[in-house]
């Protein structure tokens, strides 16, 4: 589904990613773990198409296309979804408006007609139930005044609505209490299928008790220094980053 080869990237003059190779196939769940500042969010933003990062080397192919040539909105329309580590607040824009605009943008790109208001309400209510969110969140401004946990759930709500092909979850677990974590994990698991893939970015092993990855990669200082199966996360838990990176 996606093939990242020798990816190097910088912000301004400062190199952050220093040669990343990663291949994700349909149906797989990958986890990237790494200490703070290792470049996890940078990788996720580059995949989503953030204009501030410069790719200085390497390539990304996604479903046969050169991903780096597409602007962010088209990547999203092609099925890439990023759940932000820090979701952005948009005062004045209601959640429901954004959700509908997002769904319709995707439908237009697929050559489908815009969804009618009634069908949309039915659909979004089902998705709200999935992440156990109250309907009142639809009418609040996007993330404005949401608690940390509410913001993260709202990201998963958007994911549930847009049904991405490749979902990148950047530290969706951080800031969640154990109950919220379980809800989010259940939501993500129920959205996973053999046709899509998930890239989980996390700092802690905790999330991986609920969403079992097929592959785990450890990112340190802009490079993947070790890859393995789910047991690598457990090893990391006992030895700590220092023990593995040394």
């Amino acid at each position: 589904m996606i093939e990242i080869r020798g990816l190097e990237a910088a912000i301004g003059e400062k190199p952050i990613l220093k040669g990343i190779d990663l291949t994700i196939k349909a149906g797989e769940i990958h986890a990237i773990m790494g200490p703070n500042g290792s470049g996890k969010s940078t990788l996720s933003k580059i995949l989503a198409g953030h204009p501030d990062y410069t790719v200085t080397g390497g390539s990304i192919r996604y479903q046969g296309i050169d991903l780096l040539t597409l602007p962010a909105d088209q990547r999203a329309q092609q099925g890439i979804f990023l759940a932000f580590q820090y979701p952005v607040e948009i005062p004045g824009v209601s959640n429901i408006y954004l959700l509908k605009a997002a769904l319709n943008a995707k439908r237009r790109a697929q050559g489908l007609a815009e969804i009618d208001a009634f069908d949309f309400m039915q659909l979004i209510k089902a998705k709200l139930a999935l992440v156990q969110m109250d309907e009142k969140f639809l009418h609040r401004a996007v993330n404005a005044g949401f608690s940390g946990g509410e913001k993260k759930r709202n990201e998963i709500l958007q994911m549930a609505l847009l049904e991405p092909t490749l979902a990148i979850l950047d530290e969706t677990d951080s800031g969640l209490d154990i109950d919220a974590l379980k809800i989010v994990a259940q939501g993500v698991n129920s959205l996973h299928s053999k046709d899509n893939a998930i890239l989980l970015i996390t700092h802690y092993q905790r999330l991986l008790d609920y969403i079992i990855p097929d592959h785990v990669h450890i990112l340190s200082n802009g490079k993947i220094i070790r890859s393995g199966d789910a047991s690598l996360a457990t090893l990391l838990e006992t030895k700590g980053y220092a023990g593995i990176i040394q």
Binding site: I80, V88, I90, V93, L162
Partner: protein, 443 residues
């Protein structure tokens, strides 16, 4: 009007001496006109040397020749109905075309008993306004709202409306006064006079709209008198043609426990200057001023507000939002004065501004003059661009940049539109603002 020279004022003098202006049968008006004109001759148009006019040049206006229209201007009924977004709501409606009252298009049948709403010259001729003392807004004399344009307004006043709402009367439906500009260029000196007696309530929409691509000049004064416990919702919609000039001053004098809610929505025009000055004259009176302006191309839109807290426990709150695009230029200047005796006063001011292009400019300035210690004052001003991270967030949800820019810009404006209490007015203004913005964000 030709230029700021004695020679070009001869056209005005001619109008005055030939008694071509309406209402000259009222001797007090003829004499007042003459005195105001003399005052105008002394001072001329405001210049940028004056603090209040620092950001706004009137040179282009002074150098454009217009003629004052004194004749009824025909306007096709179909065209009028398309122009009036409130038409289906059947508000009490007064229509002026190129500065002249159009009775046929107006709709004034169902006003509550005792309410007077008529063309101002008619109100003078029928003695509803019967003296200079009654006509003049003396409390504002010598204040910043008296300038070259306001003196000229009285000297050359050709039309406007008079609204008087009797004691404890509530007018349920809004009153909608439309000033439509079409077909031929003109200059109009429009004077509105509004008296809200004790305990009366009304909702007034002053609506200026240009239909054709042409240059014209509306020079407006709205004098508002709010007696004890009166409440006026005043919504001014300025949607002039792109080449138009619009200079307007709303001057309010407030009695005890009265409430003035003012909304100003301004777009279009080459030059718009829209001032709201309110004197919180008696205790516990309150003024809530909101505004949105959207300037694009080479437009210049300037809002000056002046709130005088002259008595104890008076309150004011202001919230203005400005948007400038292309080479558009916006100004918000909010002056607040709290007098010595005005204890227990609270004054709050917010000015938030959004630049949509690198060449756009908005100047915002609070001016606080506080002469006692028992005051709660707060003000905040921001000028910035659209939030890049919010745009990126929208993009990652598949929303194209153009749509995202519109979404965020509209959200910015919507916060102020949402403060309108009347749901119909709110949705119509959303619609108006939306079309102005859609027209605007083409990148």
């Amino acid at each position: 009007m030709k230029s700021n020279t004695a020679d070009s004022f001869s056209y005005y003098r001619h109008l005055l001496t030939e008694t071509a202006l309406p209402g000259q049968e009222a001797a007090w008006l003829a004499s007042l006109r003459q005195r105001e004109f003399d005052r105008f001759l002394q001072n001329g148009f405001p210049s940028r040397k004056q603090e209040d006019w620092k950001y706004t040049s009137t040179a282009a206006l002074a150098n454009t020749a217009f003629e004052i229209n004194l004749q009824t201007q025909p306007l096709d009924k179909n065209r009028y109905e398309k122009t009036n977004p409130f038409i289906r709501l059947e508000y009490h409606t007064m229509v002026f075309v190129n500065g002249i009252f159009n009775k046929t298009l107006s709709h004034l049948d169902n006003l509550p008993k005792g309410v007077v709403l008529k063309e101002i010259i008619q109100a003078i001729l029928s003695n509803e306004i019967s003296s200079e003392a009654q006509f003049e807004n003396n409390a504002h004399r010598g204040k910043p709202s008296c300038h070259g344009f306001s003196t000229l307004n009285i000297a050359l006043m050709q039309s406007g409306f008079y609204l008087a709402v009797p004691e404890n009367c509530t007018i349920e439906k809004p009153i909608h006064v439309m000033y439509i500009a079409c077909d031929t260029p003109y200059e109009a000196h429009l004077h509105n006079h509004i008296v809200m007696e004790k305990g009366s309530h009304a909702h007034l929409i002053e609506h200026y709209i240009g239909l054709d691509k042409m240059s014209y000049f509306n020079n407006v004064i709205s004098d508002i008198f709010l007696k004890e416990e009166a409440l006026l919702n005043h919504c001014k919609i300025t949607a002039e043609s792109e080449d138009a000039f619009h200079i307007a001053t709303t001057r309010t004098t407030q009695g005890r426990s009265s409430t003035f809610k003012s909304y100003s929505f301004a777009s279009g025009g080459k030059l718009i200057r829209s001032d709201t000055h309110t004197l919180l004259k008696e205790k516990e009176s309150e003024a809530l001023l909101q505004g949105v302006f959207i300037a694009k191309n080479q437009q210049h839109i300037d809002h000056h507000t002046y709130i005088e807290h002259a008595s104890e426990h008076t309150r004011s709150r202001e919230w203005y939002k400005g948007i400038a695009h292309d080479k558009g230029r916006g100004v918000f200047n909010g002056r607040v004065r709290v007098e010595k005796g005005a204890i227990g006063t609270s004054a709050e001011q917010r000015s938030n501004n959004l630049l949509l292009s690198r060449e756009a400019e908005i100047d915002t300035k609070p001016e606080l003059e506080i002469f006692n210690d028992d005051v709660r004052c707060a003000h905040g001003a921001t000028v910035g661009y659209l939030d890049e991270e919010a745009l990126f967030y929208c993009a990652t949800r598949g929303i194209p940049l153009k749509e995202a820019r519109f979404l965020l810009t509209f959200a910015f404006v919507k916060e102020v539109v949402d403060t309108l209490e009347n749901p119909h007015l709110r949705s119509i203004l959303m619609y108006i603002m939306q079309s102005v913005l859609e027209d605007q964000i083409q990148c």
